[in-house]
Symmetry: C2
Subunit: 244 residues, 2 copies
Amino acid sequence: MRFLSTEREMAMDQKKAVVLLSGGLDSSTSLAIARAEGFEIFALTVQYGQRHEAELKAAAKVAEAMGVAEHRFMNVDLRGIGQSALTDDIAVPVNRTIDEMNAAIPVTYVPARNTILLSCALAYAESLGAFDIFVGVNALDYAGYPDCRPEYIAAFEAMANLATKQAVESGKQLRIHAPLIHLTKAQIIQKGLELGVDFALSSTCYQPTEDAEACGRCDACLLRLEGFAKVGVADPIRYSMQQG
Amino acid sequence: MRFLSTEREMAMDQKKAVVLLSGGLDSSTSLAIARAEGFEIFALTVQYGQRHEAELKAAAKVAEAMGVAEHRFMNVDLRGIGQSALTDDIAVPVNRTIDEMNAAIPVTYVPARNTILLSCALAYAESLGAFDIFVGVNALDYAGYPDCRPEYIAAFEAMANLATKQAVESGKQLRIHAPLIHLTKAQIIQKGLELGVDFALSSTCYQPTEDAEACGRCDACLLRLEGFAKVGVADPIRYSMQQG
């Protein structure tokens, strides 16, 4: 009878998870949750022609700090089919209230974005023999982004279980984990801090400066700042304007 | 009372469809069917690092010959997460019987390929305000490719209708058309010929020569040649070896 596994046996037992990592606050926390649940982490950052390349650098720093097994970048060129302030030349709205943000689907919406991100994660998962995918979508995005809703995640999971050779041949169920889906921004920050996420490495702003300073005025910055304020902790990243 | 619309009114009434176009026999026929159903065609060719770039050139020729409204290329880099003879350095199997082809999922399977292709089509459709997507999957691929089955297509459609701003805001249903799904290769060729597809422009081979000559021995070539033989029509493309 043995009670302790060797390190090697533990590593062999460890289940692999693909974690979608944008380099923002949410996906960094999602990664920390996957790690805390005992998964071996394979981080995937999809470059879809977004303007805020500061996020990509942030993703690399976060992945390294979290000790992932592997970090892949995948390129999907969504520019030109945009209609989104994140990929095209549409102004990012600034200084909006939460009510204004929730009034309509924002111009920062990227067509079918989460579907494309999850599809890339599905391909990566299959190549690894992984049956777990983590995505950092959350409640605050509900009003604006249809592909952040629980019913969307469930539908993607159902589709994914019919899509791959791995699912068909193994009979195992693939699972899309959205551990932040019912959390507020403050709860996500709280959770991340508990799990040792270094939020100084993360990037959230829709329009950072070349020095990766956040604007402090776009929806993403405002939600982030409000979250930190509610937790009662200072946001460790740099902003290009003085915060009030 | 008016019985005839002007050309301009017809164009304004015409519904847009995104057609996934690889440049192969199936997708060319799928495009012809969409056109025959009265859709204005927006062809999408996704480059996923496949080795047979002859297909991309074929796609451009087919799109032009079919008079599409627009033809887009989108790049998705699946190399490196491959495990597929189409994207990695695995030998393409040759000279197999249909039974051998259907015995297991082939090495030419690309992880989550149709999910990624359809996701890109979904993004393109949303940017156009289109609610119809055509994909040329068919019955012959069932045994081998899980993402060619009707239940997979239905699951993707259900997911897509929860995924996009367009679907949520309009209340309209997005539809994934798979008009070849219950056809044999011979029936597809017959259909294509009836609809005026110039199969001399199409490319099917998994390992064409630099001159775009087909090998005549890979699964794709063998299925194509068998299809033309059953229809009793000569395949108009060039093969690098003498056909029997």
